[in-house]
């Protein structure tokens, strides 16, 4: 992540959380936190406890983030952020937590048609991790049409083309899902299962081979001992943890999207 990308990210993060940006300079950002965000980021529960109990005037902090080393920012007092710095990581976590669940409607300009039906979609962004003694992740974005059961990939990209709003627009009405969201999730899980199973899993075969090799060495080490000592079993268990291949699917975020009927989606 480049420094200017960090700057841009912070700007959007603060705005999305209603923090006023007092100054947005070259390589730095000054912001006035809201009470809510002070609690989220500043880790001072005792202060807030005190204020709330005494009815004092809350004074959320003002922060300066420095995203680039320049002559100007050198003199600034503030927190220098870079990819990997604990503060940025904290902000990442906060963004993940605050952006997990969503419900949006497609915004439609009123035209001749009096009432436009909006159809429900379940959208999920998912991280798939292949894990043994090594690890690799990839992301998937899937959309499930909760009427027809049609599943489309790269759903998020398509959403980004649309104008979306949190309130149902005038002259629109929503169609009730035929597929309940709960079973929708199951359908998408099944879809991903099939997808993943068709992938190349030589990584797992190789891990298994490494595991077997080390296990053979271990057995040889203790071959002359009749009763294996405890450390044999400890070591054996740790080899399993080290090498055993597994696949983990976790949902990063997702929600319901009510969209206009599209010609390419069968009803």
């Amino acid at each position: 992540m480049q420094q200017h990308e960090i700057h841009h990210f912070l700007e959007r993060y603060l705005r999305a959380n209603q923090c006023e940006i007092v100054e947005n300079g070259d390589g730095y950002l000054m912001t006035q936190l809201t009470v809510d965000m002070d609690k989220e980021l500043m880790n001072r529960p005792f202060y807030w406890h005190y204020i709330e109990n005494t009815g004092g005037t809350p004074a959320p902090m003002k922060l300066t983030f420095i995203t680039k080393q320049t002559k100007e920012t050198e003199k600034l007092k503030g927190e220098r952020l870079h990819f990997g710095s604990p503060r940025l990581h904290q902000i990442f976590q906060s963004a993940q937590k605050r952006g997990s669940y969503i419900r949006l409607y497609e915004n439609i300009q009123p035209s001749g048609q009096p009432f436009v039906p909006l159809q429900p979609w379940l959208g999920l962004n998912v991280k798939v991790s292949y894990q043994c003694d090594r690890k690799r992740d990839f992301l998937l974005s899937l959309g499930l049409h909760l009427i027809s059961g049609t599943i489309i990939e790269q759903f998020q990209e398509q959403l980004q083309q649309l104008e979306l709003t949190p309130k149902i627009p005038d002259y629109c009405f929503t169609i009730t899902p035929l597929i309940k969201p709960q079973s929708g999730i199951l359908r998408l899980e099944q879809y991903m299962k099939n997808m993943i199973q068709q992938d190349d899993h030589s990584w797992a075969d190789e891990a298994l081979k490494r595991w077997e090799e080390d296990l053979a060495l271990l057995d040889r080490f203790y071959e002359e001992t009749d009763e294996k000592p405890e450390c044999y079993y400890i070591e054996k268990a740790s080899l399993e943890e080290q090498y055993k291949p597994s696949i983990r699917v976790s949902i990063m975020n997702g929600g319901l999207f009510y969209l206009q009927p599209r010609p390419n989606v069968r009803k």
């Binding site: 959380n17 963004a95 690799r136 299962k193 797992a204 070591e235 696949i247 699917v249 990063m252």
Partner: protein, 553 residues
């Protein structure tokens, strides 16, 4: 093969709850930010290193990155890191640990190091790697903290031992692992019974004496890799060196990486060392003699007398502080020699060393660090230099982290001179400075080495100049000429001496020196004792060099 697929249900529960309660829902902006973060934090490849992207302020050396890559990609996270001293094994271990943490493969970590290095490891992991390592101080730490640093002596004792065995560690790191060369020890047994999913053993001397040592070390890491004990003794037991058997060497190199200084291609900048002998002024000499003559009257302990002599060599202010403290101990009742010494202190009008330092600083016309043992001298020097238009900043071990950084910044950007009382292993790098004045000398070679190590370390591109001050015909000159110069202290690479002293098991170097100086009845006797000491160090040094040829290359 068919791999189990596990679906994380955490999100699903939150979603169903929100459906029921009709919210709260995120904004579209936050939703997209969340996804962006997930993209940034996902690791796209089994291979390669992610850690350097997370540590932009750290510039690992090429051989350190290579080690980290090799351990992760080829050694499956179990390795003996056996670089020669001074090549940065801690950095390598930090990189590997960070890599596994970023990839989400390691969360719970146990780091076992010698007691004297615990806090240094904690600081380095926190500051250089942003790994929230914690020093084990209370027993709940084992359970509640994810990354714990402890000494092996603490860890192996009850109740710690039992608590550690209950934790599910993902990674174990052991520094100075050559202490585990003997499989009959309690330490060995303790480590053997630890669960080691990923494991790093750090040592500069994987083999010190016998070939079995490498067998025991490897068997901790990967039992069976070198066969079992019976097989190993039969096949290799008579060998003295790894070189003798290509097969064994190849096997060991599968689990051990050893870089040598000459292989790394790192050019060490030159170190120029100059001893500057200084003549006392007449008054200073009189003061020195007066202190020395206290030896003949029955005077407290030897320690304070020699300390006082060393103080005179530094500044009259340093001696004065000690005298004042002694007076307080006597409840204000001055011992008989007291007034005489105070009189002699008052008679001193100039400090010969300070004048020499001033002259030197003016001629250097570049950043200079002055090291002194005494705070009183530090204050005096700061005042003295100020009188001559040279501003300086003080530096003490006791400064809090922020103040240290501040002083360092001031020195880097604003003032010419930094006057430090403590080099400390506290990891401040002052590589932008190339001149060091040892205004007076510590009586512990390791501390002297640490001083030099502040500026002369890996990554220093300029030549470094070290000026050692010693007052003629004093204890100071003896220490410098009879000890430090004889053992080539100033020419050695940082870290070498540590190995030598460890081998000698000479723990109380300073006490030994005090004894030599105080209890020798003549200068001749003192010189002979010093020669014995340097001979011992030479011997250990040769042993070390001999020992190194046993190691795998």
């Amino acid at each position: 093969m068919k791999v189990e697929i596990e679906f994380d249900s955490a999100w699903k529960e939150g979603f169903l709850e929100r459906l029921e309660q009709d919210g709260p829902w995120s904004s579209w902006d936050l939703y997209q930010l969340c996804l962006e973060v997930s993209k940034r934090l996902s690791v796209p490849d089994f291979y390669g290193l992610q850690a350097p992207n997370h540590l932009p302020h750290l510039t690992p050396l090429p051989h350190q990155l290579e080690v980290a890559k090799q351990v992760v990609e080829k050694m499956n996270g179990k390795a003996i890191l056996a670089d020669e001293v001074g090549l940065g094994k801690t950095i390598e271990a930090g990189l590997i640990l960070k890599e596994y943490m970023i990839r989400g493969l390691v969360k719970k970590v146990l780091i076992l190091v010698p007691a004297s290095l615990v806090s240094q490891w904690v600081t380095e992991l926190n500051e250089k790697f942003f790994i929230p390592a914690v020093q084990q101080k209370k027993s709940y730490v084992w359970e509640q903290c994810d990354v714990v640093v402890s000494s092996i002596d603490t860890a192996k004792k009850s109740p710690h031992r039992e608590m550690i065995y209950q934790q599910n560690y993902d990674m174990i790191i052991i520094d100075e692992a050559h202490k585990l060369k003997n499989n009959k020890t309690k330490n060995y047994e303790f480590v053997q019974n630890l669960k080691k999913k990923f494991c790093l053993l750090l040592t500069a001397t994987p083999i010190q004496n016998r070939i079995e040592e490498i067998f025991h070390l490897v068997s901790l890491l990967k039992p069976g890799h070198l066969g079992n004990a019976a097989y190993f003794t039969e096949k290799y037991g008579k060998m003295r060196s790894l070189h003798a058997d290509e097969h064994l060497k190849a096997l060991v190199n599968k689990v051990m990486i050893r870089n040598r200084r000459m292989d790394t291609g790192i050019e060490w900048s030159k170190r120029n060392v100059e001893t500057i002998v200084i003549e006392f002024s007449e008054e200073e000499r009189e003061l020195y003699n007066a202190v020395q003559s206290l030896k003949n009257i029955s005077f407290g302990n030897q320690f304070s007398l020699i300390t006082m002599l060393r103080e005179v060599c530094s500044s009259r202010e340093a001696l004065f502080v000690t005298l004042k403290n002694m007076l307080e101990k006597h409840d204000g009742e001055a011992p008989p020699y007291f007034n005489e010494l105070i009189g002699k202190i008052n008679a001193v009008t100039k400090n010969a060393k300070a004048e020499k330092a001033l002259e030197l600083i003016q001629s250097i016309n570049d950043k200079v660090i002055i090291f002194t043992e005494y705070r009183a001298t530090q204050l005096y020097l700061q005042w003295f230099l100020q009188q001559h238009g040279i501003s300086s900043v003080p530096f003490r071990g006791g400064f809090k982290g922020g103040k240290k950084d501040w002083m360092k910044e001031l020195f880097k950007n604003k003032v010419q001179v930094l006057i430090a009382t403590e080099a400390g292993g506290e990891g401040i790098n002052l590589q932008f400075c190339h001149h060091v004045i040892n205004y007076d000398l510590p009586w512990n070679p390791m501390r002297l080495e640490q001083r030099i190590g502040r500026v002369h370390r890996l990554g220093q591109t300029n030549d470094v100049y070290i000026y050692n001050f010693a007052v003629k015909d004093t204890v100071e000159e003896h220490i410098l000429k009879l000890l430090y110069e004889k053992i080539h202290l100033f020419e050695r690479v940082i870290g070498e001496l540590d190995d030598i002293l460890a081998k000698m098991e000479l723990h109380h170097f300073e006490d030994y020196l005090h004894d030599v100086f105080f209890n020798s009845r003549s200068e001749g006797e003192m010189k002979i004792k010093m020669e014995n000491l340097t001979a011992m160090i030479d011997f250990a040094d040769n042993l070390n060099k001999g020992g190194k040829t046993y190691a795998a290359t």
